[in-house]
């Protein structure tokens, strides 16, 4: 067991491209941390640097208080599960799982004991003498996990271990990974591009984009208090809705009407000196059918009229979609990145679809005009240039004063 400290760790390739830019992250002993971000954000490179499979160009990496920058993977006491599982095809499951122990010159009796115990935990006992080629995808994944746990390493590293499984198996395996980590209490660093996986698994998430750490925090922190547009848009499913807004005297003028703002937010916006054009962010669950909003809550938000294009009922909730003229991604590279990640860049024109999650009791119909209410208390306001969340500064300022 050990804590991992990344201190301004940087990876620059010989051709000069910067894969990871000064990432600093403290991972506590026994903590389950997820590195999450779209492909090419540097999360796998970061994991490989922790593993020792890639050199660190600059900065310092400490595992259990020891600087390990120049230590070979074998001297770091880590175990890793790869996306492709990387099982040795010429070895049986038993040999695969015992390979590390055999290299460490562990007595054969101990190897047998440990392998069989791990096989029991992972329900692989009857497959121990088979070759990986004769196993199903889920079984191979478990062998890869088994190979990691027999070693009792200080740190587990997982590189998208579930992405080769089908959707149903992925959800099951996700739970078992989580249970396994609790049971072993070993520090775990887990890489994924799937924000749902990240939110459900991790004690803490580190969101990365273009080699830079955007924000690290608990799933709730990232969801409620995203520091910038990218984190706000990346975390949460369905994603946060973004709209352009113009700062007026005491309100924000948007396509859905004038949204009043609190004096503290107003102050923060003025202090930030970002001009009058901003981007606001509203999560789908902040919307509600105006007809069913309790009267005492009505004052916290505004009611507006839209034509609902599509309604999707999932039983517990109803998702309402309405279009809004917008060309936000052209103004923010963070939004452009998000659009590229979600595939929206290929489909969307100049219209942005707003998603609202309504109570199942709603009586709205598709294609009809409807009154929707939106709660403004959790509204985020972003600087289109830097993507900074200005509302966060307002609440921080309010808390300080």
């Amino acid at each position: 067991m050990a804590e991992i400290v990344l201190d301004n760790v940087t990876k620059r390739y010989p051709d000069g491209s910067l894969a990871v830019d000064k990432i600093s992250l403290d991972i506590a002993d026994g903590e389950f941390v997820i590195l999450v971000g779209p492909s090419g954000c540097g999360k796998s490179t970061t994991l490989n640097m922790i593993a020792g499979l890639e050199d660190i160009t600059e900065g310092e990496l400490r595992i259990g208080g020891r600087v390990v920058n120049n230590k070979a993977p074998k001297d770091r006491d880590i175990a890793m599960v790869f996306q492709s599982y990387a099982l040795y095809p010429h070895m049986t499951v038993r040999e695969n799982m015992g390979f590390a122990l055999k290299l460490a010159k562990t007595p054969q009796s101990v190897i047998t004991e440990k392998v069989e115990e791990a096989a029991r935990i992972l329900d692989l006992t009857q497959h121990l003498d088979r070759k990986p080629a004769n196993l199903s995808g889920g079984q191979r994944q478990r062998v890869a996990m088994g190979r990691a746990i027999v070693r009792d390493p200080q740190v587990f590293l997982m590189d998208e271990p579930l992405s080769n499984l089908d959707a149903k198996l992925r959800v099951q395996t996700r739970t078992s990974v989580s249970r396994l980590q609790r049971r072993l209490g070993t520090t775990m660093v887990y890489v994924t591009h799937d924000q749902t996986e990240a939110m459900t698994l991790g004690d803490r998430l580190a969101v990365m984009r273009s080699g830079l750490l955007q924000q690290a925090g608990t799933p709730k922190e990232l969801y409620d208090r995203p520091v910038n547009l990218f984190v706000a848009g990346f975390i949460g499913s369905p994603a946060m809705n973004f709209m352009g807004a113009t700062l007026e005297e005491s309100s924000l003028r948007t396509k859905i009407g004038d949204l009043p703002i609190s004096p503290s937010l107003r102050q923060a916006l003025e202090k930030a000196n970002v001009g009058r054009q901003v981007i606001i962010g509203l999560r789908p669950e902040d919307f509600e059918d105006a007809a069913i909003v309790p009267a005492e809550n009505r004052g916290f938000g505004v009611t507006f009229r839209v034509t609902v294009d599509v309604l999707e009922s999932v039983g517990s909730d109803v998702f309402a979609y309405f279009a809004e003229e917008s060309d936000l991604s052209a103004h923010s590279d963070q939004l452009a990145d998000l659009a590229a990640d979600s595939g929206a860049a290929d489909t969307a024109g100049s219209e942005e679809t707003v998603t609202a999650r309504l109570d199942a009791a709603t009586t709205l119909r598709e294609g009809q005009e409807a009154d929707l209410w939106v709660d403004l208390r959790p509204m985020h306001v972003f600087d289109p240039e830097s993507g900074r969340n200005l509302a966060l500064e307002a609440t921080a300022g309010a808390a300080a004063s």
């Binding site: 020792g52 175990a79 790869f82 095809p89």
Partner: protein, 279 residues
């Protein structure tokens, strides 16, 4: 598959074409076998199947050290050259397939250059070198050029095999605590075994069939290989051409090749890497 042969017409057409190609390749071989069983007087007899069968050509060549000793030389020199070439080529191919190092392009280019260089142009300088190094008419005198010309072949074949082995296996081995050498010996090499066997066969066949160096760098049966020795066969008198013994010797040196192909064909084709990654 783009075109699947279905109609009887296509079947007949392709069948005939295949038959012609196989016949063209096999008739000379069968003719040679036939000759080797004919008596010296029947050599000019145009019949394909010998009228009277005889083992005398075989007993004649296998009785004298004129052929037995070169056969031993061929096997010895071939095995040693193959072993050295495959050992060196596997390391070089691994580097070519896996690592980025300065001069990699030059290395690949040089090995290709060696492979296509006209060997006849090298005979005179190499002859002088071998003479001055006292390698002329010795086993090392042939092993060294064979390794040199076997290496490019080996590097090319093996690097193709190494490229197909998922890199993550090696990373996994490193994380499991293997040194680079252990990762190579215990994970990569066993997976590349079919490739190594293929390469070994190719290099051995090259050494086994080689004639130019063998005839140029040897002077006695101390190091002369089997193909070269055939050139020195003599008839019962200086006026008889030793056609029968030559045919018999040719059959003898063809047999190992046939055995190799029959035995290792499946080994070459079988891929060990299935199951390493998904799918």
């Amino acid at each position: 598959m783009a075109a699947v042969i279905t109609t009887p017409r296509q079947k007949t057409g392709w069948g005939t074409a295949n038959f012609v190609v196989i016949a063209l390749a096999l008739i000379p071989v069968l003719w040679m076998v036939s000759l080797s069983f004919k008596t010296p007087t029947a050599v000019l007899d145009p019949s394909f199947i010998p009228k009277s069968w005889t083992w005398s050509n075989y007993t004649q060549i296998l009785k004298t050290s004129q052929f037995i000793r070169p056969l031993i030389n061929s096997i010895g020199i071939g095995l040693i050259s193959t072993f050295i070439a495959v050992a060196l080529a596997s390391m070089a191919a691994y580097a070519v397939a896996r690592l980025a190092f300065p001069g990699k392009g030059v290395l690949i280019g040089m090995s290709l250059l060696i492979a296509v260089f006209p060997q006849i142009a090298l005979i005179t300088p190499m002859f002088s070198i071998e003479r001055s190094l006292h390698l002329f008419n010795t086993w090392p005198g042939l092993v060294i050029p064979y390794v040199a010309f076997g290496l490019p072949l080996g590097i090319y074949t093996l690097s193709a095999f190494f490229r197909e082995i998922p890199w993550e296996l090696e990373k996994a081995a490193k994380v499991d605590g293997a040194t680079p050498l252990q990762a190579f010996m215990k994970v990569i090499a066993p997976l590349a075994a079919p490739g190594m066997v293929t390469t070994a066969i190719l290099v051995f066949l090259f050494c086994w069939n080689e004639f130019l160096f063998a005839i140029s760098f040897t002077s006695t049966t101390a190091s002369r290989t089997a193909p070269a020795s055939i050139a020195y066969f003599s008839g019962s008198s200086q006026f008889t051409v030793p056609t029968g013994p030559i045919a018999a010797a040719a059959v003898v040196i063809t047999i190992p090749i046939i055995i190799f192909v029959v035995f290792f064909q499946r080994r070459i084709v079988s891929g060990l890497t299935s199951g390493a990654v998904k799918g």
